[in-house]
């Protein structure tokens, strides 16, 4: 019984958890979200640029996109964050006087996310039937307009589930920013849990951090499943049986 008590006390000491909760909600949660959302949005923009370059007819653009992706997808997040944060940190400090590590952390996370998101977008764009681009060009749209109005909207829709997965990964990777040194109000979920665990010698604050991450990620995982299902079966409320197909009793479902 002693051993079990010990385990429960180590991981589920409710008092220790309750003690970190205010900080988690006041600082941890918003800081984690700031990191994940801003690098997610910027990563989508840069990722789209990479995807358009990667599907371009111009070989140098395709190569640039390839090289970028290989580098930033192939190096661990922790290495990129340290190199950018510690490497550019002093330069930024001299130039702006700011010691806030958030901009550089967001920059590092963006660079990394863009490589993955670029690959996601590229696969989506390439999965759109060639006839779509052809039909759009035949109407008189330029290559750029055709991509923007016809091909990319369809491609992005198909990879929404993968995109949400990438955002989940970003939420988790944002914890690595602790390496750059944070003052109390800059700490995100993991750092708050980790500090409390170190101070008390009890792991429960880290378990609380884990719960906080789950509160963010589990709804997203289910959102992925929902989007995935709707993409496969279509929008139920918009469905209307096709008259001609219904008459001959076939093909009403696409």
């Amino acid at each position: 019984m002693d051993a079990l008590d010990q385990l429960v006390k180590t991981f589920f000491d409710w008092e220790a958890m309750a003690a970190v909760l205010p900080n988690m909600i006041m600082f941890g949660l918003p800081n984690t979200l700031i990191l994940a959302v801003s690098s997610g949005v910027l990563g989508c923009i840069l990722g789209m640029v990479l995807a358009v370059m990667g599907t371009s007819r111009l070989t140098p653009l395709r190569w640039l996109s390839r090289i970028y992706t290989d580098i930033f997808r192939g190096v661990p997040a922790i290495v990129i964050i340290l190199l950018i944060g510690l490497g550019l940190g002093p330069i930024v400090r001299v130039a702006t006087g700011s010691t806030n590590p958030f901009p550089l952390a967001i920059f590092a996370l963006t660079l990394m996310a863009a490589a993955y998101i670029g690959e996601i977008f590229r696969s989506g764009i390439q999965s759109v039937e060639k006839g779509q681009l052809e039909a759009s060009r035949a109407l008189g749209f330029s290559y750029g307009s055709s991509m923007r109005l016809v091909v990319i909207p369809q491609g992005v829709r198909r990879v929404l589930p993968a995109l949400v997965n990438q955002f989940i990964a970003l939420i988790k990777d944002s914890s690595l920013i602790y390496l750059l040194g944070l003052i109390a109000s800059q700490r995100e979920i993991f750092r708050i849990g980790n500090d409390a665990a170190a101070n008390t010698g009890n792991l429960s604050p880290l378990v609380a951090a884990a719960f906080m991450y789950l509160i963010l990620t589990v709804p997203l995982t289910h959102l992925v499943n929902y989007i995935d299902k709707r993409l496969r079966t279509g929008r139920p409320e918009k469905r209307q049986p096709d008259d001609a197909a219904a008459l001959i009793g076939k093909g009403a479902q696409p």
């Binding site: 039937e129 006839g131 052809e134 060009r137 035949a138 109407l139 008189g140 330029s142 016809v150 001609a244």
Partner: protein, 245 residues
């Protein structure tokens, strides 16, 4: 008398190679204003490629293209394609847009019409092909025949001078072919200049003004349908007709 502001179209000595594959070997095709030319021939003879070269979806290696008697090879290809409508075997409607948005997209973005006016014109085109009541449906919820009629409306909305049909009925269930062919015949009667790549010999014979038989990237024989179908001169055309009729 014509419902359409159509023009004549001429391809002169068109050549195209993909690597060592010489797909078009000096094609001449002339379509008088307001007439319908059908192009027949075995698969892989270059018929569909010829259409794509004549609206410069693929640039020819050699030769000239004249629209209303004027060479268009130096024109902006996007502007040229706004003057030539094209209908595809696989319809290629934009699945993420409603039927009416499919038709109005080019009106809004290329003709720069305000949204309501573009929608009104698109509805008018849909009415013409008998699908106004499907305006707000998604293409995936239409039958193949309906999708192809929407595709025709989409092309017509740009008021093209010439219409291309690339095996427009080949992907349709047999019972849906008739409706699309009837619509194409109406356009022909209305004075649209049309180039119709087809395997529908009945359409080719009854609707078109001239028939061009292609094989292996060359025009083997061309002439009025009566001559092509009743007294083919070359062995290749005789063989082809024996196979398909």
């Amino acid at each position: 008398m014509s419902e359409f502001a159509s023009g004549s179209l001429t391809g002169k000595n068109l050549h195209l190679s993909f690597g060592t594959n010489h797909v078009l070997r000096g094609i001449d095709l002339h379509v008088e204003k307001g007439t319908t030319a059908s192009v027949i021939g075995p698969s892989g003879s270059g018929k569909s490629t010829l259409l794509r070269v004549m609206n410069r979806l693929i640039e020819p290696d050699q030769g000239d293209i004249l629209l209303d008697g004027r060479s268009v090879l130096k024109d902006n290809p996007d502007e040229l394609r706004q003057r030539i409508g094209m209908v595809f075997q696989q319809f290629n409607l934009f699945p993420h847009k409603t039927v009416v948005d499919n038709v109005s997209l080019a009106l809004r973005k290329l003709r720069k019409l305000p949204a309501e006016q573009a929608r009104a014109e698109a509805l008018e085109q849909l009415d013409l092909v008998g699908l106004k009541h499907k305006a707000d449906a998604r293409p995936a919820n239409l039958s193949g025949g309906q999708q192809q009629r929407v595709a025709i409306a989409r092309a017509l909305a740009m008021k093209p001078e010439v219409m291309f049909f690339d095996e427009a009925t080949s992907a349709l269930d047999p019972e849906l072919v008739k409706g699309v062919l009837a619509l194409m015949a109406d356009l022909a009667k209305g004075g649209m200049t049309m180039v119709v790549v087809t395997h529908e010999m009945g359409f080719s014979r009854n609707v078109s003004d001239t028939v061009t038989f292609m094989d292996a990237g060359v025009v083997v024989e061309s002439g009025p349908p009566e001559q092509i179908f009743t007294s083919p001169r070359t062995e290749r055309l005789q063989g082809f007709l024996a196979d398909v009729l």
